[in-house]
Symmetry: C2
Subunit: 154 residues, 2 copies
Amino acid sequence: MKDNNDMPGHLARRFQQIAVAVFLAEVEDAGFDLTPVQYAALATIKANPGLDQVTLAGLIAYDRTTITGVIDRLVQKGLTERRASSRDRRARELEITDEGRKTLRAITPAVEAAQRIMLRGLTDKEANDLMRLLRKAIAAGNELSRAPLREGST
Amino acid sequence: MKDNNDMPGHLARRFQQIAVAVFLAEVEDAGFDLTPVQYAALATIKANPGLDQVTLAGLIAYDRTTITGVIDRLVQKGLTERRASSRDRRARELEITDEGRKTLRAITPAVEAAQRIMLRGLTDKEANDLMRLLRKAIAAGNELSRAPLREGST
DNA sequence: CAATATTGCTCAGTATACTGACTATCAGTA
DNA sequence: TACTGATAGTCAGTATACTGAGCAATATTG
């Protein structure tokens, strides 16, 4: 019988599991307390000042119901500000704080180290191949999850 | 600046997200209600009758605190039996029920379809390459997560 | 412009994952 | 055999993800 551990779905889960563990370990070693999800959100807020939650969710492929809690925690940590939009009173505008900017800068080496560590079993060429193939598979399946990636507004 | 969406950690998360969505959609279309995690656990219990929870967790790389809830749900659905071991009173022996066996058989086509769909953007060669590279990266990082894969007892 | 549809966000509920702690039990050893 | 350490399982707490529902506000349309 075919080994269940060899199915793409299982490999996906396992690789993600390792990636998160490596990220958290490196970031903690660097003296910070930030999850991969929080990091991506924070970096995206910095790159797109004043964006609303739905746009942010689309830019990093998070569910809109997930982003609420993520931002709650970023706000609670003092890394992000959330305020009502004046143009659309349903929306919240997000801004990174000085503290958030500082954290993002300081944490970057750990984040980059983590990316290397999670690929440490591969040669440079293999790592590039893996990322290319993942990108391709993800692009083809983008619309299949509830939280697809939505490119910048144009 | 480097796009955060292009980091291996983000690709891992995104691919896993799509894989789970595809799995759930296919299984639901087939008329079943089983998560990828529950499926893997059930299949492993069937292949290793009477195994205990820690061994099961090791075989599919789940955390031991996660497996408790997964088995709770399999038992509640009538697919698995959990009973105290006579040899070691700390341990629980797991068995698949007839209903579990029937479900596993009936669900297989949907599971296989899901694996194809999550790779649908890739050629056969690319799909094989992706899986080979994932296996290699995972093997190198196995010990980095709290729930590493533990091969069969030997 | 009134009725309708859509959108931004939140909430309640469920299912992984993990941290850390705790109980019960087992195994090894002085 | 009493002591010590390790192991099996559970529990409480936190953080993603997602389903489905709902509210408030905006957009669309007849």
